[in-house]
């Protein structure tokens, strides 16, 4: 059988620099799913864009050949004129991108943007295009296709936008779909559903799929063939099953070792001690008022946190897990005193064992300054959390200056010492952040947070912007620091696998409520709440034997009305947290 697409000896470079893709070969059979796997800088994105020739202007294909075998004979994509290429794009080969929000024009209706494909390639009339688009919308899971047709992208959630992108790519019934990290920006349950949808559509239409991803879990769930790339070269390629079960190349093995996973088998863990708590949150509520923007409509109240009780024992790690909008970040901000909780909430912080607690929910100026020395934060995005105009040294010594600690030279020494502590070189102090890689920047963020010798660090998704191997290093660093200095972490994440690795206790949040709370092992051993089950089921595991269980995801990730009677909650009626076994609490009616 002839392959649908064959890429031969492909090399791509920017300007006169070294090639970023070197001598890459692969074939895609009709109907087959090929996963292009690699970390940032591996050349996987450039490779997949080369197929459609939508490369950045400075990049050029230096050598090699890309052939698409269509019904009308082979097309050499790498040599075709731009004009002819336009007929291929969006028709025989279409593409979906990573960021569904930014990949759709904010000013045009979804229907218009999707129909455009049919206007362009089929010369369809507006009415005919609309009919087909509505059919596709229904197929990709829009509950009300007519409404989706009229909507603007900003009126939709991330998952719905990605469905719209999929509809746009599918409406012309392409032979090949290229999906560039299609689910990386989505919540884990949404990711599971979108992946499931792509798979179904593929089975229905028989199209081939090139899936570009960094996530081995996604690969294990989707791919029939895998190409592992590193620094522009193919490291290993072959059928998915043998490759995933016993990777041959050391780089692939390294990737696998770095990928965090929910343990396949867990045992019941003992509850955490609660005699020495560094942080205590009691009945924390936070309501935001969303202005309706009209004098005629009432403002909307959003309950970001509803009666959140959390206890963080000294020297331990408490993780809050949930998807976007679950209230996990708000809870963390309240714990840091960055946001004031509603009346009646209580947040207590004890810097040393047995000390009088600081009431974080109402601090005066002096207490706040003292509190800030003890509680620090590491942010998600290492690229935007460091000022590009400040030298590393200035960024690091700034906290000491604010709190007027030490002389200039003492501050510098401390900064140098901290850099070494996080595994960087002290001669990097004079550099600017742009000279550092993502992982190094996150190390810098950690070092900066450590400058004041805090006892509590709030980590807000500290690894979700990083490659897996770098994520592994940062998690190890955090663990080492905790061990050496007795730090306590409040760890915010959407990734259960990361949490499984680092946390001593996990609180799962949904719509502002903690729905289940337990040490991670207990949680994975005996998950009770349908939402927790959905989160666990949706986590793509790099293990081909443990595919995503879409049924569990669908049951738990939907609205609370779809849950079993015992777990349901509404705005007014909320069941309380029940302790099922020591240290394992579930929100349910008994």
């Amino acid at each position: 059988m002839t392959p649908l697409l064959s890429v031969e000896n492909l090399s791509i470079g920017f300007g006169s620099g070294e090639a970023v893709v070197k001598d890459v070969n692969f074939d895609v059979m009709p109907g087959e799913t090929l996963a292009l796997v690699g970390e940032s800088g591996s050349g996987k994105t450039v490779t997949c864009r080369a197929v459609l020739r939508i490369l950045p202007r400075a990049a050029q294909i230096r050598s090699g050949r890309i052939t698409l075998n269509t019904e009308k004979g082979p097309l050499t994509l790498s040599e075709m004129s731009e004009r002819k290429m336009r007929d291929v794009r969006g028709d025989q080969v279409s593409m979906i991108f990573q960021e569904p929000m930014r990949s759709l024009s904010p000013l045009h209706r979804i229907g218009n943007q999707v129909s455009e494909v049919l206007w362009l390639h089929r010369g369809a009339s507006e009415k005919e295009a609309k009919r087909q688009v509505l059919q596709t919308f229904e197929r990709v899971g829009f509950p009300d296709p007519e409404r989706a047709y009229r909507s603007y992208p900003f009126e939709m959630s991330g998952g719905m936008r990605q469905r719209a992108m999929i509809a746009m790519a599918m409406v012309s019934k392409p032979d090949l779909l290229i999906a560039d990290e299609p689910t990386t920006a989505l919540d884990v349950t949404t990711q599971a559903q979108v992946l499931g949808l792509i798979k179904e559509l593929q089975q229905e239409t028989g199209m081939a799929l090139i899936l570009v991803t960094h996530d081995l879990g996604v690969v294990a769930n989707m791919a029939e063939k895998v190409v592992v790339m590193h620094k522009g070269r193919v490291m290993e390629a072959g059928a998915a099953e043998p490759l995933l079960k016993s990777p041959a190349h050391p780089y692939t093995q390294q990737l696998f070792n770095a990928a965090p996973a929910i343990p396949a088998e867990a045992t019941l863990a003992p509850p955490l001690p609660d005699d020495d708590l560094i942080l205590e949150m009691n009945k924390v509520n936070k309501t935001f008022t969303m202005r309706s923007g009209s004098a005629w409509k009432p403002d909307v109240l959003v309950h970001a946190c509803r009666g959140v009780d959390l206890k963080l024992p000294r020297g331990k790690t408490l993780a809050i897990v949930g998807e976007s909008g679950s209230g996990k970040t708000t809870a963390a901000r309240i714990a840091l005193g960055a946001e004031l909780p509603d009346e009646g909430s209580e947040v207590l912080f004890r810097a040393t064992p047995g000390a009088d607690p600081i009431t974080v929910h109402k601090m005066d100026r002096a207490t706040r300054t003292a509190f800030q020395r003890d509680a620090q934060m590491v942010f998600q995005d290492p690229y935007s959390s460091l000022s590009p105009r400040m030298r590393v040294q200035d960024a690091m010594t700034e906290p000491l200056e604010i709190h007027k600690i030490g002389t200039k030279s003492e501050q510098r020494d401390k900064a140098a010492q901290m850099l070494q502590r996080v595994g960087l070189n002290s001669d990097m102090l004079k550099r600017y952040p742009h000279a550092f890689s993502g992982g190094q920047r996150q190390r810098l963020s950690v070092a900066r947070a450590m400058m004041l010798d805090p006892s509590l660090i709030v980590c807000d998704e500290p690894t979700s912007a990083l490659d897996v191997s770098v994520q592994e290093q940062i998690l190890t660093l955090l663990e080492e620091l905790q061990e050496g200095l007795g730090l306590s972490y409040l760890f915010i994440s959407h990734d259960l696998a990361v949490v499984a690795r680092i946390a001593d206790e996990v609180a799962v949040m949904r719509q502002g409520l903690i729905v289940e709370q337990a040490p991670p092992d207990t949680l994975f051993y005996n998950p009770q709440h349908p939402y927790t089950k959905a989160l666990i089921a949706a986590q793509p595991e790099p293990d081909i034997e443990r595919p995503i269980n879409l049924k569990l995801v669908a049951q738990g990730a939907g609205s609370p009305e779809k849950w079993a009677e015992a777990f349901r909650f509404t705005d007014t009626m909320v069941p309380s947290l029940v302790e099922l076994e020591p240290g394992h609490k579930v929100r349910c009616h008994v």
Binding site: R86, V88, F97, R102, S103, E116, F154, M156, R291
Partner: protein
């Protein structure tokens, strides 16, 4: 219809702003010590012409300049009866120009709509030139097209307007027989509007439009280019290309729509800067706009004339911002749906 409601609301706020502006204008004009008449009386007394003094004193009473400032304001606006009953701006009486010794209405007369005409023409010129050039410069960035248009643009920015006016007049006369100075043939001045007069105005309008618009056009072109370059890097552009759209259509449908917002918002700023910026040009080119009249009025403290012209410019500005606000709401759904639940 939410846009209609917004337009009505916007119109209401415009009237309110205009009221505040009127207070400011009146106060600022009266801030310097003395007024036109007291200056004149002092001058007449110094030269011993008592007959003139009596006339000036009469005018002071006639225009209520002897009353308290707030009363003067109320009478000027027409909120309060003056020596001749209710007769202020809102009744359509623009006041008396002491310098020209004629009613303000007669002095500004034609020049009001000629001002609007010249500046509208300049704005149309700015957009007609800046839009395509900015888009092309961005689409072909770092090519000779981009560099050439930037070079010409900077020339336009850097050339003083009056110099440009002189150059254009000289060569326009030499090669195209374009008339020099003014906005119409002198024989049409004060005549009712006829087809011939229109034609004359059109021909006279060419050079002033280019002179007033060039600097604005090159500035806008450069900003549009920068905006477009920003937008061209966004993922939705990639989506459009991956769909198989032709470059020209893709450019105008997607990035241009987004990059265009600041320029719609600019309409409001463009109007006043052109009116005030074109004062010098109007003097040099002998245009019958209100610019020169404003200059004279401010110099001689001719308060009713200057107050009226300032109010007129403010009105133009406010109408400009109102138009751009309403256009923005119509063009950008994100603004339209702001605060609405999704």
């Amino acid at each position: 219809m939410s846009i209609l409601r917004y337009a009505i609301y916007r119109f209401g706020t415009m009237l309110l702003t205009l009221l505040v502006v009127s207070v400011l204008v009146f106060v600022i004009i009266n801030l310097p010590p003395g007024d036109y008449l007291s200056n004149q009386i002092a001058e007449l007394k110094a030269s011993g012409q008592s007959a003139g003094v009596a006339k000036a004193e009469f005018l002071r009473k006639e225009y209520a300049l002897d009353r308290a400032l707030w009363e003067q304001y109320m009478i000027w606006m027409g909120f309060m009866p003056g020596p001749h009953g209710f007769s202020g701006l809102i009744q359509g009486n623009f006041g008396w120009s002491f310098e020209f010794d004629r009613p303000v209405r007669e002095i500004v007369g034609d020049s009001l709509w000629l001002t609007v005409l010249v500046n509208m023409a300049a704005i149309v010129f700015v957009y007609a030139l800046a839009l395509p050039l900015g888009v092309i410069a961005a689409a072909k960035s770092r090519t000779w097209i981009d560099y050439t248009s930037a070079f010409v643009g900077y020339l336009g920015l850097a050339t003083p307007n009056f110099l440009l006016a002189l150059i254009l007049y000289y060569y326009g006369r030499k090669y195209l027989n374009i008339p020099i100075g003014g906005l119409m043939d002198p024989s049409f001045e004060g005549e009712p509007l006829t087809w011939e007069k229109m034609k004359s105005i059109m021909v006279h309008l060419i050079v002033p439009t280019i002179v007033i618009g060039t600097a604005g056009a090159s500035a806008m072109m450069q900003r549009l280019r920068a905006n477009m370059l920003d937008e061209l890097g966004k993922p939705y552009v990639e989506t459009a290309i991956a769909k198989g759209m032709a470059p020209s259509r893709m450019l105008t449908k997607y990035p241009l729509r987004v990059a265009f917002n600041p320029f719609v918002a600019d309409i409001g700023n463009l109007l006043p800067s052109m009116v005030s910026g074109s004062v010098l040009v109007s003097v040099v080119m002998g245009l019958q706009t209100i610019g020169p009249a404003l200059l004279t009025a401010l110099k001689t403290q001719d308060q009713f004339l200057s107050a009226f012209i300032l109010m007129f410019v403010a009105l133009l500005t406010l109408i400009g911002t109102m138009i751009s606000d309403i256009l923005l709401v119509m063009l950008d759904p994100r603004i339209r749906y702001e605060g609405r639940e999704s």
